[in-house]
Amino acid sequence: MIMGMLLLAACSEPPSDDNRDVYRHSEDEAPASLDPAQASTVYSNMVVVNVFDTLYRYKYLARPYELAPNLAAGFPDVSDDGLTYTFRIRSGVEFTDDPAFPDGTGREVTAHDLVYSIQRHFDPGVRSQGAWLWSGRIVGLDEWGQNGADYAAPIEGLKALDDHTLQIQLTAPYPQLVYTLAAGFSALVPKEAVEFYGREFSVKPVGSGPFKLTSFNSALATFDRNPKFDRGVLNLADEGYRDDLHGTYGLQALDGQAYPFVDGLEIHFIDENASRWNSFISGEVHNVMVPNEQIDRVLTSKDPIELNDDMAERFHKHSGIEAGFVYGGFNMADERFGHHPDPDQDAANRALRCAIRDAFDWQARNETFYFGLGNVFPGVIVPLVPEFDADLSRRSVQHNLQSANQALDEYGWRDQLPSMSYGMPSSVQQRQMFEQFRAQVQEIGFSTDQFSPESFATFGDFSRAIKNRELDLFFLGWSLDYPDAQNTLQLFYGPNETPGSNNFNYNNPAFDALYEQTLTLQPGQQRTALYRQMNQLVIDDCVVISGLSRTRVHLWDKQVRMLPDREILGGFFMRFVDIGNESETAAMSN
C-alpha cells in the first residue's frame, strides 16, 4: 500500500497523445529561473523565448545575425535625433489561457505589457539581472525604480501611446536598443500572472510565445504548442536560407507553411556528457552538442569538420563558432603589475603583462582542451560580430618566448618577478588549465610557487573574488548579449570598473573617450573603425590574454528538419522545427 501511494505521488502527467509530433531537445544544464527578468543564461533563454514573446527575434538562418520583427509589426520609427523610438505591436496576439486570468482565458497582449515588463527590471523587489541593458538609457526609468517602483506612476521615457503603440524616449542615442528588445530579458509578461503566482512566476511562466509550458523540473521541461500563436508562414528566403549551406537539412519542405510545426516540445536538461550522448545515440533525444570526449570518435576531419561515415549516415551535422569567447584577464588595479601612477613603472608593468601574454600558448590550450576546434583570434572583438577584423595582426596570440624574455630583461623584471594569484572555479579541467598555464610561465622565469591557484566552490564565489579585486589573474568566458562589438568593448570601459562588468579595472582615458564617442553612433564604417582602435588599445596595453571562440558541433536526427542554434539567445529556432515521417527521412538520407 505504501508503495502504491508512493507511486501515485511520484507520477507525472500521462502523455495526452502518443501520435503527437514532439521535438525532444537536449541541453547540458538546467535553467534556474524562467522569469524573463532573470533570463541571464542560455538555458533560461531556451525556455523564455519559446514561452514568451519578444518584440524582435533573430532570423532563423541568416549569419551574421540579423533582427526580424516578432511581436513588433515592423521596425521602429526613430526620430531624427535618435532619441525617440516608436514601436507598433501586432494586434490580436493573446496570452495563453491560464488560471491567472479572469475565467482562465488569456487576454490580448498590449503595449502596456511591454511597459510593465521593462519596468519590472527596475523594481528592487524583482532581482532583475537585465536592468543594465536599459539603465541610464530611458528617460525617468532609473528614477522610477529609485522612487519606490510605483507601477501607477508614469515614466516620461517609457509609455504606451495606445494598446498597440509603445514609445521609448532615450537619454542619449542608443543604437543597440532594438537588439535589447530581442533579448529574453525584454519578453512580455502579463501583470496578472506575475501577481497571481508571486515568486513562483519563475517556475510557472505565462506568455504569448509559440509554446506553453506544461511541466518543469531540473531534468525536463515540456511544452504544448500554443494554439493561439499565429505569425503567418515561414518564409525561408526572408530567414536567410541559402541552398549551399542549408540545402541538405530538408527545410525547403517547410517554406510557406504556418509555424510552429510540432505539437509539443521537450527540453531535456542532461548535465552529464555520457548520459546526454547515450540518450542521443539511443534516440531518446533528437539532438546533441557533441561533448569534447566524443569528438575523436565522431569526426574524421577537424578542418574542415567532417563526420565519419556511420555518423554522417545517421545524423545531420552543423558546426559553427560560439557567439562569445574565453580569455584571461589581469586586475589592472594592482600596482604591482597593473596601472601605476609612475609612467616608468607603468611601462614596466605593461611589459610584464605582455611577457605573460606572450608566454601563453593558445595553440596548446586549443589542442588540449578544445580538441583543436577553437578559433584563436587577437583582441576582444569576436569573430561572430560584423566588426571583426580578420586582417588584424596575430602577434598577440602567438606563443613567443623570445619576445617575452626580452621584455622582462629590458624592464629589469628578471629575478624580481611578483607572486600572483590565479583564480578559478573548482573543477578538474580548470585545475588542468592552470597547470598548463603555470608550466608555460615557468618558461619565462616564474617559479612553481609564484602563481598560486585559488579555487572557488561556485562560480558566484569566483565572481565575488573578481569583483572584490582579490585575484591578480583570472580566466573567464563571455557570451554575447547581442551581435555588436560594443558588448565586449564595454568590458574595458573605465566607469564600468568592478563591481561593474570591467573586471580588469582597466582605466585608459583614450579608450574611454573612444568608447563614449561610439556610444551614440549607428553601425557603419566610422563606428567600426573606432571599435577597432579600442580593440588595438586593449591589445597594446596587454590587459587580456585573448582569445578563443569555441566551435560547437551539433548533431541531430535526420528525421528532424531544423538548424539548431544556441548562440546569443538560443531557442528561437524551435518554432521552426519539424518532425518528418520515416519515408521522408529515408528519402533525405538517400
Binding site: 522569469d35 543594465w132 519563475s202 531534468a219 547515450n278 565572481s463
Partner: protein, 319 residues
C-alpha cells in the same frame, strides 16, 4: 501506554539532537557555504544592487536572528522560497521526495533482501566454494565505481539492447514505472549487494557459531529452519540497525548519482544543487527534516528491537 510514553520521551529527547544538528549545519552554511549574491546579480552590478540582494538573502542580518528564523521555519514547516528557482521549498520537497522514494525503494528492498539471503548462504557454507564465490562477487560489486556501473548499464540496457530508456522519468502507471525504474534499480542493487552481503555474512557467521545453533543442529533441525529461526532472528538487531539507519542517507544523498545520470527529478539532485549553489532555504529544509527523520528512525529502531528481541525493554529496566 508504555510505548506511547516511550515515544514521547524519545521525541522530547530528540529536540537537543535536532537543535545541535541544525545549529552546526547552519554555521557551516553561513560561514563556509557558497555566497549566492553574485549568482543572482547581473553582469554589471552596482554596489547598491549588491547590497540589495544581500539584504534580500538575509546575509546582512545577525547570525542568531537568522538561526531563530530557521527554528521558526522548522516549527511551521514553512521554509519560504528557493533562492535559485523561486519555487516554494515545500512544493519542491513534495514534488521530489516521492520520486526519490519510488526510485530507491525497489533497490533498497532488493539490495537488503538479497544481501541477507546471500549472507545466510555464505555463512552456512563458510570457508567453502559457495562462500568464496559469493564473497568474490561482493568484492567485485564493491570495487567497481558506482559511476562506471551506471554508465555501463545505461549503455547496455538503453543503447545496445534497447530494452529500457537511457534516462528519464515519465511515470504514469505501473508498467511505465517498471520501465523507468528497472535500470536504476539494477545499478543500485549491483553496487549495494556487495556491501550488504559482506556485512550480513559477518553478523550471521558470528551468530551461527553460538551454542544454541549448535544445539539446534544436534537436535537435527533442518538447515533452513536453523538459518531463519535460530540464526537470522537472533541476528536481527544489527541487521535492523543497519537497514534503518541507511534510510536517511539513501533518501538524501544516496540517490544523487542515480538521479543525475538517469535524469530523475528527485530530492538527491535538488540537495546537491542546493549545496553547490548555496541555496540556503532548501538546505535548511533538507538538513532539518533529515535530523527529524533520524530521531524518528531512532525511535522506530528501538521499537523494532523490542519486537525482534523480547528481552529488550523500552523503559530501560533489565529483564
Amino acid at each position: 501506554m508504555e510505548l506511547l510514553s516511550y515515544v514521547i520521551r524519545k521525541l522530547i529527547g530528540g529536540i537537543p539532537l535536532i537543535l545541535g544538528v541544525t545549529l552546526i549545519s547552519f554555521v557551516l552554511m553561513v560561514y563556509f557555504g557558497p555566497d549566492k549574491t553574485f549568482e543572482l546579480l547581473s553582469k554589471n552590478p552596482t554596489e547598491a544592487e549588491i547590497a540589495q540582494v544581500r539584504a534580500q538573502l538575509g546575509y546582512d542580518r545577525p547570525f542568531l536572528v537568522r538561526y531563530a528564523e530557521y527554528l521558526k521555519e522548522m516549527a511551521t514547516l514553512d521554509f519560504g522560497f528557493s533562492d535559485s528557482t523561486g519555487e516554494r521549498v515545500s512544493s519542491i520537497l513534495s514534488r521530489t521526495i516521492p520520486v526519490s522514494l519510488a526510485l530507491l525503494a525497489p533497490g533498497f528492498v532488493l539490495g537488503n533482501l538479497l544481501g541477507i539471503v546471500l549472507g545466510l548462504v555464505a555463512a552456512w557454507y563458510r570457508g567453502g566454494w559457495v562462500d568464496k564465490l559469493i564473497m568474490g562477487g561482493a568484492v567485485v560489486g564493491m570495487s567497481i565505481s558506482f559511476l562506471v556501473v551506471i554508465v555501463a548499464f545505461q549503455a547496455l540496457f538503453g543503447v545496445v539492447l534497447g530494452w529500457f530508456p537511457v534516462r528519464g522519468w515519465n511515470v504514469h502507471d505501473l508498467p511505465s514505472y517498471a520501465y523507468y525504474v528497472t535500470v536504476p534499480t539494477l545499478a543500485s542493487v549491483f553496487v549495494a549487494l556487495g556491501y550488504n552481503t559482506r556485512f550480513f555474512r559477518a553478523v550471521l557467521v558470528e551468530e551461527i557459531n553460538r551454542d544454541h545453533v549448535r544445539t539446534a543442529r544436534a537436535f537435527g533441525a533442518r538447515p533452513a529452519e536453523i538459518l531463519f529461526r535460530n540464526v537470522l532472528m537472533n541476528a536481527m538487531i544489527p541487521i535492523v540497525t543497519r537497514i534503518l539507519f541507511s534510510i536517511p542517507l539513501i533518501v538524501v544523498s544516496g540517490s544523487l548519482l542515480i538521479e543525475s545520470y538517469f535524469g530523475i527529478p528527485g530530492i538527491g539532485k535538488v540537495t546537491f544543487d542546493a549545496i553547490t549553489s548555496g541555496d540556503q532555504p532548501i538546505l535548511k529544509a533538507v538538513v532539518g527534516l533529515t535530523a527529524v527523520l533520524f530521531v524518528l528512525i531512532l525511535i522506530v529502531t528501538d521499537i523494532l528491537y523490542r519486537v525482534v528481541d523480547p528481552r529488550v525493554s523500552l523503559t530501560g529496566d533489565a529483564r
